[in-house]
């Protein structure tokens, strides 16, 4: 309490000093009048320095700024702890704006939450809103156009690790996913790794089939179709989260993978996830047309 009074007094004294000094100096020079050679300034290389009066408009503007500052510092905080007569804070202003815009946003989201995916994908306004939510929350990993990158799935294709129906996509976004591929170099030797990698790439061999039939089939299925229950990829399609070259595939098998989609329910509400899932279906439809 005492501290804040000290600060206000301190601030006031300084402001007073600053402006008084400026006003005094201004007046001093203004009073020097017209060219009075007896009180003229220096002569530098034959060029005379004089003291002309300060223009009225200039001095006037300065007075205005001083008055403005005095009013401003009374109404708004600017000196230590003094809160200002209006008790304005940037945080309060922010909260006010947030409440306002959140109300508008929530109304839209609630409306869209009632609609089914097939309706939403054709609703331009909904998709525009979804686009912005996507850019802010998802684009960092999945790419600006949801095209993905190595390690981060392409969300616009037909290949869905855990299932591509609306509800499953919502679940994946909300709860997150962890895709674990064991590191088989602990179990398989280099030749076996080569053989099974080639098999995955389409070059069948007896050795490759044997390895696959023992180690891979339980997750990736008899026909390499994968298993959406635990996100084991379909190995017979052209969608590769970790790269589809022979080297990449061999590395995935040998070193294993540990893909992690963070659960978004911590950050996004149900309505937003509903909208995002529809957006992904919309992107997929656009991509596959």
């Amino acid at each position: 309490m005492n501290m804040s009074l000290n600060l206000v007094v301190w601030g006031l004294v300084l402001v007073f000093l600053t402006y008084t000094l400026s006003v005094l100096l201004t007046n001093y020079f203004a009073s020097k009048g017209t060219k009075d050679h007896s009180r003229a300034g220096e002569t530098y290389d034959g060029v005379e320095e004089g003291f002309a009066p300060i223009p009225a408009w200039w001095a006037g503007a300065m007075i205005v700024t001083i008055v403005f500052a005095a009013i401003y510092l009374t109404l708004f905080p600017g000196m230590g702890n003094y809160k200002g007569l209006l008790s304005w804070t940037s945080e309060a202003q922010l909260i006010e704006k947030q409440i306002e815009s959140q109300a508008v946003l929530q109304e839209k989201l609630d409306g869209y939450f009632q609609l089914d995916a097939d309706v939403l994908v054709n609703n331009n306004d909904a998709m525009k809103l979804a686009y912005r939510i996507y850019q802010n929350n998802c684009a960092g990993c999945h790419g600006r156009h949801a095209q993905g990158a190595k390690h981060f799935p392409n969300l616009t294709d037909d290949a869905w690790l855990y299932g591509g129906d609306f509800e499953t996509i919502k679940y994946s976004i909300s709860e997150g996913r962890t895709g674990v591929m064991p590191a088989w170099e602990a179990v398989l030797n280099s030749e076996q790794l080569d053989d099974v990698s080639r098999l995955v790439m389409g070059e069948a061999s007896a050795e490759g089939e044997q390895v696959y039939g023992i180690y891979c089939i339980s997750c990736h299925g008899e026909n390499k179709e994968g298993n959406a229950l635990f996100g084991a990829p379909n190995l017979s399609d052209s969608s590769w989260v970790y790269g589809g070259s022979l080297e990449d595939i061999r590395e995935s098998i040998a070193k294993g993978r540990n893909g992690h989609m963070p659960a978004q329910k911590r950050y996004l509400g149900e309505e937003e996830i509903h909208l995002l899932a529809a957006y992904l279906l919309h992107l997929g439809a656009k991509n596959n047309d």
Binding site: L7, W10, N81, L94, K97, G140, R144, H260
Partner: protein, 201 residues
């Protein structure tokens, strides 16, 4: 008197200093005595040894030149980056890393937003995850190891300026950062940024 100021440069400099300190004294000095700017916000703790080394990697590599760490009280900014930055969140930062430019996004609440794996890939080659990025690549971070003998000294030095490290923390520091690469340290630092506030987004 004017002649004196004009002709004697030392007096001129003194006069300038006096004039410009008015602003400093009015706006800055009061902050040194305000609780808001001196007390840590709730849940703010000093950085662990690995995160501290990561912070030094952040400074060394010049990350603060392109990335700010200050979320302002503007609606759209808070919407994108999370809760506005509080003064009490930077009390233990010597120096603070608020930055002054956003070539890249603000990082004040980047902690937990991306996986460790994402940071690893992104730091080694930003264009691998963000094709349109013009951030430079930092592939050497994985190869360089932290100079572990320096860590306890850094923590002791920080303690002298008010960061409350315990003796135990300083003693254990070297073992915490043993074998760590600069990449490990930097990712650890990034993943704790802005996590002091519970509901940050």
């Amino acid at each position: 008197m004017i002649h004196l100021i004009e002709k004697n440069v030392f007096i001129l400099v003194l006069g300038i200093l006096v004039a410009i300190t008015f602003g400093t004294l009015t706006e800055l000095v009061p902050m040194f005595f305000m609780e808001e700017t001196n007390e840590p916000a709730e849940f703010v703790k000093p950085l662990g040894a690995l995160e501290l080394e990561g912070r030094d990697v952040y400074i060394k590599e010049g990350c603060h030149v392109c990335h700010s760490q200050m979320i302002r009280t503007l609606k759209t900014e808070v919407q994108r980056y999370g809760h506005q930055s509080l003064a009490g969140e930077s009390v233990y930062d010597h120096p603070f890393l608020w930055g002054s430019k956003r070539t890249g996004p603000d990082l004040a609440r980047i902690g937990g937003r991306y996986t460790d794996q994402w940071h690893l890939i992104h730091l080694i080659d930003p264009r691998a995850v963000v094709p349109e990025s013009n951030m430079p690549a930092f592939p050497w971070l994985s190869e360089n190891k932290i100079e572990t003998s320096q860590t306890p000294l850094k923590m002791a030095a920080l303690r002298k300026v008010g960061v409350p490290y315990t003796d135990a923390e300083i003693e254990n520091a070297e073992s915490v950062v043993a074998e760590a690469s600069e990449m490990d340290a930097l990712i650890a630092y990034l993943q704790q940024l802005g996590t002091a506030l519970p509901n940050k987004r």
